[in-house]
Homo-oligomer: 130 residues x 2
DNA sequence: CTAATTGCAAACAGTTTGCAGGCGT
DNA sequence: ACGCCTGCAAACTGTTTGCAATTAG
């Protein structure tokens, strides 16, 4: 396996995750990193994201019904909130799964995913219900 | 809006949901309904599924990282189990969300989705860990 | 009969891959 | 200079849509 080089596109993508502390979609990363690197290709973003998952720098976050997101690897167990208005995803600390759940016989649970959906604070302010 | 006709392909698709009591992907529906209707096109399956959601006969079930599923509409609130081995999805009765959760200020929760993943009973038997 | 429905193929959106040139080291 | 990395375009997968032929009512 080849070793990594420090290119400006790769660096820009890493910096995007340093300055935005929430899970980002490939499109968001492209848009944000594009601010630093003129003409950054979307293929490069996908390649960098996949590489960084491989290198255990990032973790892929799959959520129901929306584009996949990526967040820094090594975070404590947590779940996510998806804003239906702006489509952004936010981290929610702690585990939201009910303890002591009982499943039918024979099911072995290896992991769980929980997503809350609704309206984020910013969108609540900007789009008052009145 | 045009009114519905009873075609054999539409009937076959409806029957698939009568005989399989778990959420099915478009591909699964196509495969299963194909047994009744020779040459059933995948576009027809997609159109039927979308129509049936529109008619409130089915509900779309989005799960993290896997193809969307469809299940009969009107079921009681519940969550899902995804078998990592056979990729089938099963219903889990009851709500698995911890009660009394606290979110940061400003977040309004409108819905939640929970997916447990692991191994289903059938796959546990067929692929013993030894 | 007559219009809704189907199957096919083309169109699409998101993601991956092949390739020639560019650029870290 | 070497070879990894990038950008572009083509390939792919899952889903939707246009259209002529088919078929339910």
């Amino acid at each position: 396996m080849p070793r990594k080089r420090l290119t400006k596109q790769r660096t820009a993508i890493e910096e995007v995750f340093e300055s935005h502390h929430r899970p980002l979609s490939p499109g968001e990363v492209h848009e944000l990193a594009r601010g630093q690197v003129e003409g950054l290709g979307i293929a490069t973003v996908y390649r960098a994201l996949n590489d960084m998952v491989e290198e255990n720098i990032l973790r892929a976050v799959d959520l129901p019904g929306i584009a996949p997101r990526y967040e820094k690897a090594g975070l404590k167990h947590h779940h996510h909130f998806h804003c239906n208005t702006c489509d952004k995803v936010f981290d929610l600390d702690g585990c939201l799964l009910k303890p002591d759940i009982r499943l039918p016989d024979g099911f072995t649970v290896l992991s769980h995913d929980i997503t809350l959906s609704g309206v984020c604070p910013r969108c609540s302010k900007e789009q008052p219900s009145s």
